[in-house]
Amino acid sequence: MSLTSAMLTAQSSIAARSAEMAIASRNVANANNPNYTRVEASVQNIVTDTGSVVYVSHASRMVNQAAFKATLKSGSAAIASGSYAKMLDQLNPSGQVPFGTSTASGIGSLNESLIAYANDPSNQVMGQSVINAANTLVDDLKQSAQTLIDARMEADAAMGRAVDNINKILSDLEGVNGKIVSGSAAGNDVNGLMDQRDEMLKVLSEEIGIEVLEQDNNGVAIYTDSGVTLFEKSAREVSFDASLSLGAGDAGKNVLVDGIAVAGPGASAPVTGGAIAGYARGRDEALVTMQMQLEETAKALVEVFQETEAGTTNTADGLFTFDLGSGDLVSRLKVHDAVDPAKGGDIKLLRDGGINGAAYKHNTTDSVGYSELLRGYETALNSDRTFDPAAAVNTNSTLADFAANTVSWFSAERKMAAENSTLDASAFSSNAQMLSNDTGVNIDTEMQRLLTIETAYSASARLMTAVDKMFQELLGAVR
């Protein structure tokens, strides 16, 4: 031990404090960066027979892998349920009038005007109000159907955007991961790169649910939450073809990862998290069911108002009919031209029969008080009918009840989606807070650390002054 070694120790302490200072200031600078992981100086002490030296060997990253993965998982779940809930919310822009209400009340108005016409069949104005109610109902159904198609197309486009984003992230990630692996193998500081990769993983998990597996030299492999490889050494291809039309009966296309379907109808390994899962659920389940409900409504309307040929059991479309052609029924639904005065038709055909020609006329005496057919339609409108189970509501009910049930179905689905989304969002935010508390920066702590470093620095400097003085004393004595 000597004065020289004391001087050396004080010197090394000053150097180490500067390094610590640099690390602390890096932490402070990133206090508000959500993707930053706090680093702490790792201070080493070497003791030799000539003295001891302190130095900062490296900055260690305060990671919490479990909390990070939990955040990724709950984040992708929150995005999935959130995007699904938002899709349903968009169908219901006004909180007071749930989707489908207008159809249900349109059927009610049709029934009302039908009764009024049947009670006063000589009054053409009453007949016109039946036609008006029918036209309004048709317009409303078409509008609802278009809203659903738009929503499905939007979901489809969102899936496309998500796939583009995934491919971009995966290719970027390939580069970053490579640098981390080679840097780690060479013993370089890869903390910044790892922060960058964590951020990429977060964004990736927002698009698609993922599982992250650590590999040697800080490398990672990434799988979808259903187990399909997205990235292992190299990025796998994620592909998706946007649909051109998504009317009732049109199925959306699948999202393929490495050739395996992970989202879309009949996917073999369906993902549960991320925007893709949420949009696929809307596009392929809820909205498909709702389109089915509208189709069933249109079908029932046509059936209710069918005419019977006098004296036979032959039937033909009456007040409502479908345009010829293929595709969904709602888009082809219309009020029969023969009864619509706006199209040159005659309202009286509805009362007397004969929309499909004289053979279908029942009021052969042309009595203006004849209301048997009108009352027949009203009875048919209020009779129980059978609906397709795919419409997901009671299969046996009147058309009006069916329409009301579809309103219930939608609101129940939306309520559930909103509740799930709130739960998932709060699970995510508490996970994210936990992660941030564990690996993020607390300015108070950092400032306090700065104070300690400062004190230690001035103590070391003071030590050097003292040693210097002692040297001077010694040298003065020798002179």
Binding site: A31, N32, N33, G95, Q96, V97, P98, F99, T101, A104, S105, I107, G108, S109, N111, E112, I115, A116, A118, N119, D120, P121, S122, T365, S367, V368, G369, S371, E372, R375, N382, A400, D401, A404, N405, T406, V407, S408, F410, S411, A412, R414, K415, M416, A418, S429, Q433, S436, N437, D438, T439, G440, V441, N442, I443, D444, T445, M447, Q448, L451
Partner: protein, 350 residues
């Protein structure tokens, strides 16, 4: 272990509280202003369809009440018409009975009978805004033909065919009251099918274009009732018969016995006719009462529906007011905390 909070978390948490409380306040404001749930679908969930169908049921009742009001108007008009028919017919019958003892009285009565006949046709041709209420289902045209425009000629033709001479022929005066071996007497003629059929089987040929079938009106979902009358009721035929006998034959120069007999025949027909009219009127009144009772029950049902809709859709105003003030307090507290925490900064103390 020391619980540590990162600076980022504490900032974000405050932001989240602010957003949350702001949204809660917004909701409370909407609910207080509209007195209904801010988001019906989210609050009611699977029950949303119930209020939808309650609402359309409610408006169904509303429009049913409107058409029922029209029906009641129609029934009222029918009632007035029937009332006129039966009072004036029975007054005429009383006049006939009183005049019986007076000679030449039948000629006076004959003139009156023509007036009564036009009163009868007029009453049966009543219409309410274009709907001829006694037309059966043929409500577009006046159902009963004026006496002078067909029925009178038909009676004279039948008379001519039966007796072999015109009604104004001198031979008419010598037709016996009864007992003619060939049946060429008043009694047999007035009871004969050819004469009776004018007011019975051939009523629709000579008098009426109405149908027997009446309009059916729906007064409540699934409940129907007659919504019009028919001029083809038997009672109207009997009234017409009584009045026609006096009108056509009363003006002729007949023996006193024949006049007496004809008067008796007419009174008989009028008696059954008036009775029949009264019973039609009673039936009509019963229908009207029924519709009114239905209306009352519809109103009661509407009230129940209204209460149920309010139950489902409306918020509790007291609760909403409290929620609003709570949300306000909460938001103010959050603002205060935000400001405080912003001030709590180690830098100020270094």
């Amino acid at each position: 272990m020391v619980y540590s909070v990162s600076t980022l978390t504490s900032t974000l948490r405050l932001t989240n509280y602010l957003i949350d409380n702001r949204a809660r306040l917004d909701n409370a404001v909407i609910e207080n202003a509209s007195k209904k749930h801010a988001d019906m679908g989210l609050t009611l969930g699977a029950q949303t369809g119930t209020t939808t169908s309650f609402r359309s049921e409610f408006s169904q009742y509303e429009s049913q009440l409107d058409t029922n009001k029209q029906l009641i108007t129609r029934l009222d008009v029918m009632n007035t018409a029937l009332d006129n028919v039966h009072t004036s017919s029975s007054d005429f019958r009383s006049d006939l009975v009183a005049l019986q003892s007076n000679s030449d009285s039948l000629k006076t009565a004959s003139n009156l009978a023509y007036t009564e006949l036009s009163k009868l046709t007029n009453a049966l041709n009543t219409n309410v805004s274009g709907v001829y209420v006694f037309g059966g289902i043929n409500t577009g045209t006046a159902p009963v033909t004026n006496f002078a425009d067909g029925p009178e000629a038909a009676i004279e033709t039948v008379f001519g065919t039966y007796f072999g001479h015109g009604i104004d022929d001198a031979a008419t005066g010598s037709i016996p009251v009864s007992g003619d071996p060939n049946g060429k007497d008043w009694e047999t003629f007035l009871q004969s099918a050819v004469f009776k059929d004018i007011f019975g089987a051939n009523w629709t040929t000579h008098w009426s274009s109405a149908t027997d079938e009446k309009m059916t009106s729906t007064i409540e979902s699934g409940v129907t009732t007659d919504g019009s009358g028919s001029a083809n009721e038997e009672a109207f035929g009997q009234l017409a018969e009584g009045l026609s006998i006096v009108a056509v034959f009363g003006k002729l120069d007949l023996s006193v016995e024949a006049e007496k007999f004809i008067t008796n025949q007419a009174v008989n027909s009028l008696n059954t006719g008036v009775d029949g009219t009264i019973s039609i009127e009673a039936q009509n009144g019963a229908i009207k009462t029924n519709v009114e009772r239905t209306n009352a029950s519809i109103l009661a049902k509407q009230n129940v529906l209204n209460i149920r809709i309010n139950d489902l859709e409306n918020i509790d105003e007291n609760r909403a007011a409290i929620e609003l003030s709570l949300a306000q307090t909460q938001l103010e507290a959050t603002y205060a905390i935000t400001a405080k925490i912003q001030g709590l900064n180690i830098m100020k103390y270094l």
